[in-house]
Symmetry: C2
């Protein structure tokens, strides 16, 4: 089975590529490298510098004998190179991580907002057309986010909702109310993809991920040159990763607002496993299939306590601080999201245990001199009061 | 009261400008003129050539003494000129017609699809930021379309739906399932605008219009140089306008598919009146208000009969033909869409009477030599089977 990974240079794309390659899939990675530009633009860098994608691919081949083909291509701006890559590699499945991934980035200013939506929406549209043109049978596995749903006062279902209204029934796309222009870009993608399934019989799996945490996978640990990009900053870092870096650096854990915000989370290992499960059981032709891809649900306060407790046992001196919420979101809200689809496909979750947190903290401590505390505190506010 | 009309060169934008100017509003029009490029690109032209926007504005001033300021500006590609226009004109309300308006255009190929979504989404995002930056109190009146909803099996409400699910309740954005990348671009706009209301307290009225018909308004009839752009082609022409031109030219009325498709319709006079009503009763700060802007509901078969009957009485020789539906849409479906909001604001509908149809046919007959039958038959198909 051949799998092409768009955004294959990134935090999740690269470990997914190695995992699949090691398990006998023929894998290619494609990236436009623009994340490096965005990082430089907003002045942040990952905890440890990663090697260029080409070099990682060479190291991987030397270690395992498995080839990971590389394509450098901007799917949003240069669709021809995407068409060519698909024509050349002839994948059975395409995993689509190639999006601007940060909510705060999208809220910085007009330019960053438009960049985010244009990059994400155009890239996904170009992918839709490329597949319709080359081989409509290719299974698209698209990474979305739980943040697309926002925090509705009803249970969150997996992408679709059975509605009864004035005595009549329908199955409708789950109505969404996201909290940033980034999350909105993913909603736009989902809507475009659902139409492509309906109009052109494409097969799509939309994975609405919770916030991912974790640094290592079995494969990233095989060689120092194979590590993936780990961000702890307030723009590209996810919340657990940030909290872990804060306790390791002896900085207060900064919780946005009351900390009662509930979210879904998953381990990087489960992100990758979910993608394998989706590849192995593809969506039907014409099916827009949605999974909510997270394994546990916590409030930010829960998380802060969990990280703090482990840090304390390790002899660190953690403090939890509440800071003014830079985002516009509900802090006290109902939250009950279904996530049974992937479990039914066979997912065995890696939960956020004390030992997982401890190993993350230990890992960060190895590179503690690289942590720049100025990057952690949020500077981007959703509301710019005049 | 000052009103800035984006897309003020177009079929609806220009008559709206004159109508409001005549009733004492201070009006400015803004357009990037790109529709002229698109028309040339796909090889269609309006029934009668319109004069350039600047000249129409001069003629209007000579006739009425009222000034209509003109701005040439691409709000999608050059946000600075939009910021400047708002800073200079200081409108109380902005009416946003400045979008690629054709579903078939968006389905032609990848390039046209991306052009449509990028033009429409970026333009609306830039408008959101411009208003947040200059004066968040400005009321945005955004033109959407009834096509955003698609054809759900439940009643269509005005933008929002009260849902009860597993014993809990919420008011959610009405879930949409549109039939083209154009209609999807408007869904994306609506989602972005709703977020802007929530995050930044903007005030937005989203008008989901039915298909508009009609050629003249009181103001367009005041001088030959003031007519508006009327399209009868299969790309930019709406269905009633096309049927009227077909009978006038002694061509068969071409109904797509079974003709049982139900849609909402309204007279160009009511489009304009609805906009005035929305301006006069602005949305509250933070309110994303949605109206379904149509006055009557017909099947395509109903419409074909109505136009055919009038044509027959006029001594023409109308024939109705069913052709293979170029679109992907349900032909036999439930359709019951609410549209009471604008009636409650005081709309007195101009219905599609025989005399309205007759006057449209007579109007077209005056320019019958200009009708090119090659432009009417649909060439763009939703499905490109390989």
């Amino acid at each position: 089975m051949k799998v092409l990974i768009l955004g294959g240079d990134g935090y999740l794309g690269w470990p997914t590529a190695m995992y699949l390659s090691r398990r006998g899939y023929e894998v290619a990675v494609l990236d436009n490298m623009i994340k490096h530009f965005w990082e430089a633009e907003v002045g942040v860098d990952p905890l440890v510098q990663t090697r260029p994608m080409h070099i990682r691919s060479q190291v991987w081949e030397e270690l395992t004998g498995q080839q990971i083909q590389t394509f450098v291509c901007d799917i949003a701006e240069n669709p021809k190179c995407l068409y060519k890559a698909i024509d050349k590699f002839m994948p059975d499945a395409i995993v689509h991580f190639a999006e601007q991934p940060s909510a705060p980035f999208s809220m910085m200013d007009r330019d960053k907002c438009v960049t985010t939506q244009q990059n994400n929406v155009n890239g996904t549209l170009n992918l839709i057309f490329a597949i319709q043109h080359t081989n409509p049978d290719i299974h698209i596995i698209k990474l979305g986010t739980m943040g697309e749903y926002g925090t509705p006062n009803i249970d969150i279902e997996e992408g679709w909702l059975n509605v009864e209204h004035n005595g009549r029934k329908d199955r409708v796309l789950y109505p969404k109310k996201p909290h940033s222009f980034y999350h909105l870009s993913k909603v736009h993608d989902s809507n475009n993809l659902e139409f492509a399934c309906r109009a052109w019989d494409l097969r799509v799996t939309d994975l609405n991920q919770g916030a991912v945490y974790g640094i290592d996978t079995e494969e990233t640990k095989m060689h120092p040159d194979l590590i993936t990009s780990f961000h702890y900053d307030s723009i590209f870092g996810t919340v657990i990763n940030r909290f872990v870096v804060q306790v390791a650096k002896n900085l207060p854990i900064t919780v946005y607002g009351s900390g009662n915000q509930q979210r879904g989370f998953l381990n990087i290992l489960d992100t990758i496993k979910c993608i394998e499960l989706a590849i192995e059981s593809p969506a039907e032709k014409g099916e827009f299939r949605v999974f909510n891809q997270f394994t546990e649900q916590f409030s930010l306060n829960n998380l802060a306590s969990m990280v703090s407790d482990v840090a304390q046992k390790m002899g660190l001196d953690p403090v939890v601080e509440h800071i003014k919420n830079p985002r516009v979101e509900m802090e006290d809200h109902y939250y009950n999201a279904q996530h049974s689809g992937l479990l039914e496909l066979g997912l065995k979750p890696n939960l956020l245990t004390d030992s997982v947190i401890e190993s993350m903290i230990k890992n960060v401590l190895k590179h503690i001199d690289r942590v720049d505390e100025n990057l952690i505190y949020p500077k981007i506010k959703w509301c710019h009061k005049k």
